[in-house]
């Protein structure tokens, strides 16, 4: 039985392990406020830590004895409080995907299943739990975000739990499930006539004039650190080992870079033995600026205008794209892109082989995994982790025409028997067609 989640401070206060904000480009340092841009060079600011302090505080055993959520890794996260906002986020299943592996000719494949992350069924709950905990520490009473859907769901839900006011901005053409899944928490929702990149620009302008905590803008250095828990959990769930290869969607590039940082931090503090981990990236062809740069051997990203069903990863101007590109290159990974039709097939393949219904972003990851495996770009003996970042119930439009219909029958045995025979005939025909 799972215990109720209500964790008042029960342990002595640990010293905060984060020390300042540091520019990734020029190294300038700043205090730990709500800012995300270097005033010298406009580079992104990142949280810096005292790794000696972390090493002193943390062991495998202390982590394993912690809460069954991302907060078991609190020493690696940029919050000072002993009572972070804990809505059960994280510690999602790492599933050994034997049936999918056989289909793809791989021997050791795992699915990190954030389609069932709590509370809003995407990896975004990780970053938002961290961002809103930090927002509260910094004194914000209103939180906000620019979102392709999942981030809006998560910000609205966790703000509701924390009692924070919330105003979110989304493109006006999002999937119905993502819009409803935000409105239910009763935030103010601004549906902007424009794509995500335009929504993001507008929010930056709003952030200049409103004193709100924008999770992906002025709180970005704290927010993005939450994605590191995707790395920590995989290491712990593999029995304190690094995988050989990971496949994840570098949409803005943030998650991808933070998984890389997470693995490196565990090595740095001695929690896991070092070894090379290859990073491969999955993009939708209709929005693949990082893939284009990779393919053309460029060291800069040219923005694109998104046109794909994979809306949650339709970011044409990826802020951390350049870092994702560097990581793929230096780890001997690959960036690959797939069509919308391949994305739908990827969603169906994961569902049919492993019982996981992912959204279009996950379909992109699986389709790229398949493409890389078929091209021999994943060694069958590599332990490979595919990161599934969101839930298919939110993007039903994408597959509603591709999964067939139920067989409608009368509540009579002979009606069932006729339909059953018909169903078997149809699958036999399917089978014969695939044999030809």
């Amino acid at each position: 039985m799972t215990q109720a989640i209500d964790r008042p401070a029960s342990k002595p206060l640990q010293c905060a392990t984060f020390t300042n904000l540091k520019c990734r480009e020029c190294g300038a340092t700043y205090d730990l406020g709500a800012k995300h841009v270097c005033e010298e060079c406009f580079g992104p600011l990142e949280v810096a830590y005292d790794y000696d302090a972390i090493r002193r505080q943390v062991t495998r055993e202390s982590i394993a004895a912690g809460p069954n959520s991302i907060w078991r890794y609190k020493a690696f996260l940029p919050v000072a409080t002993d009572t972070p906002i804990d809505v059960g986020t994280g510690m999602t299943p790492l599933l050994k995907a034997n049936r999918l592996a056989r289909r793809l000719g791989l021997k050791e494949l795992y699915i990190k299943n954030d389609a069932v992350n709590m509370p809003t069924l995407s990896f975004k709950d990780r970053v938002v739990s961290v961002a809103l905990t930090r927002a509260r520490e910094l004194g914000f009473t209103t939180v906000s975000c620019a979102s392709t859907g999942n981030l809006a769901n998560s910000t609205a839900a966790i703000a509701a739990h924390a009692g924070l006011d919330c105003c979110v901005f989304i493109p006006s053409d999002l999937e119905a499930g993502k819009v409803l899944g935000t409105l239910i928490y009763d935030p103010t929702v601004m549906a902007v006539h424009g794509n995500y990149d335009q929504v993001n620009r507008l929010c930056s302008e709003v952030a200049n004039t409103h004193g709100w905590g924008f999770v992906n803008i002025n709180l970005r250095p704290y927010y993005s650190e939450g994605s590191k828990t995707l790395a920590y959990e995989v290491v712990e769930q593999l029995g304190w080992k690094l995988p050989d290869h990971i496949v994840a969607p570098p949409a803005s590039g943030s998650l991808y870079g933070k998984i890389y940082k997470g693995f490196n931090e565990f090595v740095k503090v001695g929690l896991v033995d070092d070894k090379p981990v290859r990073f491969s990236g999955a993009q939708a062809e209709g929005c693949s600026p990082i893939y284009q740069a990779y393919k053309e051997g460029r060291d800069f990203i040219t923005p694109v205008k998104p046109n794909t069903i994979a809306k949650s990863i339709a970011i044409g101007n990826p802020a951390d794209g350049i870092y994702a590109l560097e990581i793929a290159k230096k780890t001997n990974g690959n960036i690959e892109a797939v069509t919308d039709a391949e994305i739908i097939e990827g969603m169906k393949l994961l569902a049919e082989t492993e019982g996981i219904f992912t959204e279009t972003a996950g379909g992109t990851t699986i389709a790229v995994l398949k493409k890389l495996a078929e091209a021999g770009k994943i060694d069958p003996d590599e332990s490979t982790v595919a990161y599934i970042t969101g839930n298919g119930l939110k993007t039903q439009e994408a597959v509603s025409g591709s999964v067939g219909e139920p067989l409608f029958i009368d509540p009579k045995l002979d009606s069932f028997e006729r339909a059953w025979e018909r169903a078997n005939t149809l699958s036999r025909l399917d089978w014969q067609q695939t044999q030809v």
């Binding site: 841009v37 930056s204 302008e205 992906n216």
Partner: protein, 91 residues
């Protein structure tokens, strides 16, 4: 001729905390020079040593990224709105 420039928070210390500036310039390059003459030091924050726009700064003219237009040669007309925006994460 004047265009309206939206100044991001990190640069507002150059503009006496003004978030919006009306200023002249026929294109982005000329606009940067106008900004520099009125607010000394601001250009070095936006451009690297070789004069190219820094890679983490985005310029928009009437909501369109200048990389979809003519880059820093993008022409400006009276009444245009230019937005300077740092790169942001998200999704």
């Amino acid at each position: 001729m004047a265009v309206k420039v939206l100044i991001p928070t990190p640069l507002q210390k150059f503009t006496n905390n003004e978030a919006t500036i009306d200023i002249g310039g026929d294109n982005i390059v000329a606009l940067l020079d106008s900004l520099e003459s009125q607010f000394p030091g601001i250009k070095a924050r936006l451009c690297d040593d070789s004069g190219e726009l820094r890679r983490f700064v985005n310029f928009y003219v009437n909501s369109e990224d200048i990389r979809f237009l003519d880059g820093k040669e993008t022409a400006l007309s009276d009444g245009d709105e230019v937005s300077i925006v740092p790169a942001v994460a998200g999704g």
